[in-house]
């Protein structure tokens, strides 16, 4: 398979990788850049555990060819605490005991941050629409919903 050079930004650092262009972003992040906070859960954009932001948009890294993020800004869970909102969401997660096994939570948190950026005061329906792509097998949905509402009300500042 032919390789190509792909240049993109990850957590404000410019990365250049020589790679098979269809290789999913998730495996470039995890296996080449050693950013393992984004998780593998299904490989088919069904569970959301791999959710990252590409130019601010929540994106399933497991099905996104790395070529597709050429020249774009990728943000992963590892850099999230650097933003005010990201840090607040993480505080909410800790404070409300949202994680159980925790494996899906990187993706959940990335999806929640994207939601709150787009809709600062989301309704339950907004939450359903934005977060139903992220599976939590431990079933912490009620706590995630509660955390989102409390964040929207200005909590965890």
């Amino acid at each position: 398979m032919t390789k190509e050079t792909v240049v993109f930004t990850v957590n404000d650092r410019v990365e250049q990788t020589v790679v098979s262009p269809e290789k999913p972003l998730l495996w470039v992040l995890r296996d080449e850049l050693d950013l393992t906070g984004s998780k593998y859960g299904c490989g088919r954009a069904l569970c959301g555990a791999c959710t990252v932001h590409v130019d601010g948009q929540p994106t399933r890294a497991c099905v996104t060819p790395v070529k597709a993020v050429e020249g774009k800004r990728v943000t992963t869970i590892e850099a999230l605490s650097e933003t005010e909102l990201g840090a607040r969401v993480q505080r909410a997660w800790k404070s409300l005991n949202v994680p159980q096994c925790g494996y899906c939570q990187s993706g959940q948190i990335m999806a929640v941050v994207a939601l709150l950026r787009a809709i600062p005061k989301p309704t339950d329906q907004n939450i359903d629409e934005a977060l139903s792509g992220n599976i939590c097998r431990c079933g912490m949905y009620p706590r995630i919903r509660k955390a989102v509402h409390e964040l929207a009300a200005g909590g965890f500042a």
């Binding site: 296996d31 393992t36 069904l46 994680p99 925790g102 097998r137």
Partner: protein
């Protein structure tokens, strides 16, 4: 079974570099034949051979106190999401009077002898394992199993610290108190930190029976403390097995049998040789190991390799219903026979057959094993619910003594039973791969590997039959279970068969709680080639569904309200009655309630806990005999004895509700001519945010010792929902998942 009262704790302390101390603790069930406290409390390891029982006193740290006054609690049980790494440290820190802000956790090494859960002590023929307990995290046993011993470990260390402070201040021990990791002498206004006392305390003899706090003195137990692992589970920094890397490591995917039990007879690597990073293939007992540089190259290569197989299990799940029903037409092995009937055909006037599908655990983190085998020794990193046994099995495959296999248990991305595999499939396989690949490696499972990998909750059929007494009550009740047995090998049978109900297919049927004069339960063990395993709440999930929905069906025939009849038949069961009444009150439901909502309730006791769950639903009639169902709210009332951390108890119950709804609504693994039809979350759906109902959970106050909660929230959810639907439709749904019924539409 559990022998708390017979068990003695022996502790030993060791000074550690930097001025801290380590405390070790050992259980024993028969103190008379064991070393005296003095000999057991040797303070170093220099002459262990001098003691005939020396091997029983291998140093085993449960508590570490550092000179800078931090306490680390070393936890034997596995963290699979349930909060072990918070609850167990809370128990220790309570009696130690430690400053919770300066308490952390550490996962213990794999060792049943030292870290086994006392719950699993048995009378069986397992030598030391009988005394130590298995190091298995299953059956909701962590808190109830470790509670007493960890309290005593904390209390003993506190006592040693007090004695050390007494020496230093030259005051009587009785004049000292402790608070937040300090020993305090009020009269002289002296405060000595545990860290500063630790080195001297390590010289003290650990007390055999340290005084324990009265529950009224608890400052941590009963508090809604934040999880100690919450931060690293919120910022991506926690390394799960899937993330764990060691130098020079290759990635391995396995092409496993397309039908369970099939044997690999040939393979063609084909175009895989052109995949960048592909390194080669190796036949192993479970299939063909594909070795590559990383995940992506392994996956790409695996797709291009073709394999040929022979034999294997060819069953189709569509045939199982008739097969199991046929078995249920014959008498089984009686496990409960209240009226001393002759074993035979239970004959009631009302009979229903129930059918439950195979289910996959589908934890969010697929299975994986990182293994570094170096000929004479081996190191493994893996999230496991059963590290001591995984270690032993790996050692057996590799031909090494267990001590030569270092097993590092990692926090798991979910388990639900899959990571305590009675067939030890993934660990055996990884060891086989390690034997043939001469370098460190990680075996990774894709989601498809996970869903198709077997070790399912067994397919089960139940036949329930009952007669009414003509006076509004139930005269007789019989419950027959046909299911695959989980006792798959002699080790498991010895280790678990004698000590637990967890492997019994009658679990949840035998314990049917209602006061009915003639109760009869028997079972059929069916065997086929589909590997089965316990899934969260095990046979309770199926049997309690049958019991509790059949109950409402009988109540209807008897002209009784399901709540009234339950109350009447639970008069002798005060804990059941209390949770039932509590949940009815929470939902404001009485037999007189007459509104547009439909309600169903179910009650269940196990793991030394009791729960009642009630579901409120809208059930709307649609055309063509269909009903649209939307769940409004799930109420739970829980009596789990002492709730060490009520917030984590509630989290477990909520988690159980979501887990249960996934299986009740759409969980099903089907086989067609031996091949598993499902593969990933599109065809094996689990509950998502928009399907997750509102929940209200109440933990009832109790001073009883703690009961388990990890599985408690699962079994009642299905019958509570089915009973709400029954109340609306008078249709008893006897097979799961519910979404297979064309007459039901879920919103």
């Amino acid at each position: 079974m559990k022998k708390t009262l017979l068990r003695r704790d022996f502790l030993r302390a060791t000074a550690i570099a930097g001025g801290g101390m380590l405390v070790a603790c050992k259980w024993d069930s028969d103190s008379s034949s064991r070393p005296t406290p003095a000999s057991s409390a040797r303070r170093n390891d220099e002459t262990p051979a001098a003691d005939p029982n020396a091997e029983r006193w291998t140093p085993n740290a449960f508590i570490r106190i550092s000179a800078d006054n931090f306490v680390t609690v070393i936890v034997g049980a596995a963290e699979i999401g349930q909060g072990t790494m918070t609850a167990v440290p809370m128990i220790v820190a309570e009696e130690l009077d430690a400053d919770w802000e300066r308490v952390s956790w550490e996962q213990s090494e794999a060792s049943a002898i030292t870290y086994g859960n006392p719950f699993w002590q048995s009378e069986g023929g397992l030598g030391d394992l009988d005394q130590a307990g298995l190091q298995i995290t299953a059956a909701s046993t962590t808190v109830r199993g470790y509670y007493d011993s960890q309290r005593r470990a904390g209390a003993a260390v506190r006592q040693m610290l007090l004695e050390a402070a007494s020496d230093q201040l030259n005051v009587p021990v009785e004049s000292l108190t402790t608070r937040n990791s300090f020993v305090i002498h009020t009269a002289s206004r002296s405060r000595l930190s545990y860290g500063s006392l630790a080195a001297a305390a390590a010289e003290k003899l650990p007390p055999l029976s340290p005084p324990l706090k009265d529950p009224s003195e608890f400052r941590l137990i009963g508090q809604r403390k934040q999880r100690l692992d919450a931060a690293e589970k919120s910022d991506g920094s926690l390394d799960y097995g899937f993330d764990f890397k060691i130098p020079n490591m290759v990635t391995v995917m396995v092409i496993r049998a397309p039908r369970f039990g099939a044997q690999l007879i040939g393979h063609k690597v084909g175009d895989a040789v052109d995949v960048d990073g592909f390194r080669g293939v190796h036949p192993i007992p479970s299939g063909l190991a594909v070795v590559a540089d990383d995940y992506w190259s392994a996956e790409q290569a695996r797709k291009l390799i073709t394999t040929e197989w022979i034999g294997g299990e060819e069953l189709s799940t569509a045939d199982l219903k008739d097969q199991f029903d046929t078995r249920n037409s014959l008498p089984g092995v009686p496990v409960r026979n209240d009226a001393l009937r002759l074993p035979g055909l239970p004959s009631g006037d009302i009979t229903e057959d129930y059918h439950f599908p195979y289910l996959a655990h589908a934890p969010m983190e697929p299975l994986n094993v990182t293994i570094d085998y170096r000929g004479s020794e081996c190191e493994i990193w893996c999230g496991s619910q059963w590290p001591d046994m995984d270690q032993l099995v790996a050692a057996t495959v590799l031909g090494l003594p267990p001590a030569a296999v270092k097993f590092n248990n990692l926090l798991s991305g979910g388990g639900f039973g899959r990571r305590a595999c009675l067939g030890f499939d993934y660990i055996q396989e990884a060891a086989h791969v390690a034997r043939v690949v001469g370098q460190p490696l990680k075996v990774v499972w894709t989601r498809e590997d996970d869903i198709r990998g077997g070790y399912y909750r067994p397919y089960t059929a139940c036949r329930l039959s009952a007669s009414l007494d003509g006076a509004g009550g139930i005269a007789s009740w019989s419950h027959r279970v046909a299911s695959q047995t989980l006792l798959v090998n002699p080790i498991v049978e010895t280790a678990l068969g004698q000590v637990t109900e967890e492997v019994q297919t009658s679990q949840g049927a035998k314990e049917m709680p209602y006061a009915i004069p003639d109760v009869y339960v028997d079972t059929h063990a069916i065997s086929n080639g589909v590997p089965t395993l316990w899934v969260r709440s095990v046979a309770n999930a199926t049997n309690v569904y049958a019991v509790e929905t059949f109950f409402d069906h009988l109540a209807k025939q008897a002209g009784r309200h399901p709540l009234s009849l339950r109350r009447e038949l639970l008069q002798e069961k005060p804990r059941h009655l209390a949770v039932l009444n509590a949940v009815a009150e929470m939902a404001n439901w009485t037999p007189e309630t007459n509104d547009s909502l439909f309600r169903g309730v179910a009650v269940f006791a196990s793991y030394e806990s009791v729960i009642a769950q009630l579901i409120e639903a809208d059930v709307e009639k649609q055309g063509e005999g269909k009903h649209k169902v939307s769940i409004r709210k799930v109420y739970s009332a829980v009596d789990c004895g002492t709730a060490v951390n009520p917030d984590l108890v509630e989290a477990q119950i909520e988690s159980g509700i979501v887990f249960a709804l996934s299986s009740i609504l759409f969980g099903e693994i089907e086989l067609e001519n031996g091949e598993v039809k499902q593969s990933n979350f599109h065809d094996y759906p689990v509950l998502r945010m928009y399907q997750s109902p509102a929940m209200e959970t109440r933990v009832l106050p109790s001073d009883h010792s703690p009961g388990g909660v990890g599985e408690l929230g699962v079994p009642c959810v299905g019958p509570a929902l089915a009973n709400a639907i029954y109340a609306a439709t008078e249709t008893l749904y006897t097979s799961l998942p519910l979404n297979r019924h064309a007459s039901l539409v879920f919103e």
